[in-house]
């Protein structure tokens, strides 16, 4: 598995410690990987900030319904 294949999981803190360290060292030595990591983080932020947030409706009603069920 190449370093690039693990970049997203590295950014997401989803790699086992040993592999994360390998990827971290590779990034440290490679400006192209550093750029990719920066872009991935940026992309995550934009994806989060540009999503519409659903307005929460019906909580009180559902609480009533479950209270009435045994």
């Amino acid at each position: 598995m190449s370093i690039r294949d693990d970049l997203k999981a590295f950014v997401d803190n989803e790699l086992p410690a040993e592999r994360a360290e390998e990827v971290r060292l590779a990034i440290e030595q490679d400006p192209a990987l550093q750029q990719e990591v920066t872009f991935m983080k940026l992309l995550s932020r934009e994806i989060q900030e540009s999503a519409a947030e659903p307005e929460i409706k019906g909580a009180a009603e559902v609480i009533d319904v479950v209270r009435k069920k045994p």
């Binding site: 690039r4 294949d5 693990d6 970049l7 997203k8 999981a9 997401d12 989803e14 192209a32 750029q35 990719e36 872009f39 991935m40 940026l42 992309l43 995550s44 934009e46 994806i47 989060q48 900030e49 540009s50 999503a51 519409a52 947030e53 659903p54 307005e55 929460i56 409706k57 019906g58 909580a59 009603e61 559902v62 609480i63 319904v65 479950v66 209270r67 069920k69």
Partner: protein
């Protein structure tokens, strides 16, 4: 159960609304909690309570989507959202188009990880797929987005 609903309704409702829209989300959320009420004994604490609830919600949403002959495509998650702000480096419309061009499997993991804040393992549990599949879907989704959003010369081979 009323206490659990009070604490977990918002993430369950949001999860449903992103999949089948606001109109049906309340019914799906209600069915989720009613099912959980019956099956809570089966909850073994190996995952979080929210992951357990979202696993049920995912099935409810799939059933409702089927009944209503709709697709859980996640393509509307970014519709009607705000325009680019000063902080934005990526044009919002280009991002929306790039997200729309992904497969629904790819959008699904993006929604679950980036918006719902679930870990790879939690997503795997909810979707009943291996965590490695979640990892590769997210990796591939980000590659596709990068290809759409960056000029060709900036994309490494």
């Amino acid at each position: 159960m009323a206490r659990i609903v009070a604490e977990q309704y918002a993430p369950v409702y949001r999860f449903c609304a992103r999949r089948i829209g606001g109109e049906l989300a309340k019914d799906a959320a209600q069915e989720t909690f009613l099912t959980a009420q019956k099956t809570l004994k089966r909850f073994n604490g190996q995952s979080t309570l929210l992951t357990f609830l979202l696993g049920i919600a995912n099935n409810q949403c799939r059933n409702m989507a089927r009944k209503n002959r709709m697709e859980m495509s996640f393509s509307e998650v970014w519709e009607g959202s705000s325009e680019s702000s000063e902080r934005s480096v990526i044009d919002r419309e280009s991002l929306r188009q790039a997200l729309k061009a992904l497969t629904s499997d790819h959008r699904e993991v993006i929604v679950m990880h980036e918006l719902e804040g679930l870990t790879y393992e939690e997503i795997a549990t909810i979707l009943a797929i291996p965590a490695g599949t979640v990892k590769s879907r997210l990796h591939n989704a980000f590659i596709q987005l990068r290809l759409k959003l960056l000029p060709a010369e900036e994309v490494p081979a």
